[in-house]
């Protein structure tokens, strides 16, 4: 191999290495957690609505939700004890504040002692979505309006809710007037 060839080789290889390293650092800083899926969870808790990733709620709230499935927001979502225990375990291991810190961690801010059952009623969630009503020219958002996360958050099914990754023109116009998932 001539010196020229060697130098071109390294000249190409080193920038790639540096670039890859930069990517990893960026990824870590952005704090995108890895979304660990669970097929049972998605099937059981994704039948009536979008399967909310576990890192959206603290374990305490998940426990409360799982304990009240017979009266679940006006629906009966009861599960047999075995499935229910399995799902609760999954939710606890990956719940908010348990999983490694990420962009989602700011949802932990100002949680009252008795946390609400709805993600959409957490103070930090409400703060993040204060602009939605304004942008859609609504005076108030009815309960459940913001529940179908995937209607606005393009990568919700991968557990990513960054504000840079919304559907263009999110909102009812995007859904044809009615909510979907």
């Amino acid at each position: 191999m001539t010196l020229i060839q060697k130098m071109t080789g390294w000249g190409l290889f080193l920038p790639i290495l540096v670039f890859a390293f930069y990517g990893v650092v960026q990824e870590v800083q952005a704090g995108n957690f890895r979304y660990i899926r669970d097929q049972t969870y998605i099937e059981e808790c994704g039948a009536c609505h979008f399967a909310y990733p576990p890192q959206l709620l603290p374990p305490l709230t998940w426990t409360a939700i799982m304990a009240g499935l017979d009266e679940h927001f006006g629906e009966n979502a009861e599960l047999d004890a075995e499935t229910s225990t399995q799902i609760l375990q999954y939710l606890h291991i990956h719940g908010l504040g348990v999983a490694p810190a990420s962009r989602m961690s700011k949802m932990m801010r100002n949680i009252p002692d008795e946390p609400p059952l709805r993600i959409t009623e957490f103070p930090a969630f409400k703060d993040a979505h204060a602009v939605v009503a304004e942008q859609l020219e609504l005076t108030a958002l009815e309960a459940g309006f913001l529940s179908p996360c995937a209607d606005c958050h393009r990568l919700a099914n991968s557990g990513i809710f960054d504000k840079e990754l919304l559907h263009p023109g999110y909102g009812p116009a995007n859904w044809g007037g009615t909510k979907s998932e």
Binding site: H49, N76, A77, T178
Partner: protein, 125 residues
């Protein structure tokens, strides 16, 4: 040779699938008030209105079309096995949803007769 074996397995799948429902219907028939299950009665149950609620509140008029959950708006895949071959193939799933959905729609559990009738009708779709 192996290809024959696998294609045999593949084509025999639907037979096993049908078995699950057949077995369940036998169980239901044992506890029903012994009228044979009919699709006509099943169809009537599907469209029966109770306080403005019916099976079609979420599954929409035709079991062959997609549904939409009345409260959350989530799309529900078609119920007819002719469109969606995964339907009515899993015992646990059928039991669970018949229990929940009858309570939601009629405010009570369905009788074994009603379950059998509605399943026979859905299967014919």
């Amino acid at each position: 040779m192996r290809i024959f074996f696998f294609s045999f397995l593949w084509f025999s799948l639907p037979c096993y699938a049908a078995d699950v429902l057949d077995d369940y219907l036998v169980v239901l028939a044992e506890s029903a008030e012994s009228l044979p299950f009919t699709a006509t009665r099943g169809e009537r149950i599907w469209y029966r209105q109770a306080d403005g609620r019916s099976c079609t509140s979420c599954h929409m008029d035709s079991p062959k079309g997609k549904g939409r959950h009345q409260k959350t708006g989530k799309v529900i895949e078609a119920m007819a096995p002719s469109i969606n071959s995964l339907r009515l193939t899993e015992l646990k799933k059928m039991k669970k949803w018949l229990l929940r959905n009858c309570k939601w729609t009629f405010g009570r559990e369905c009788t074994a007769q009603e379950k059998g009738d509605v399943l026979v009708w859905l299967r014919s779709q």
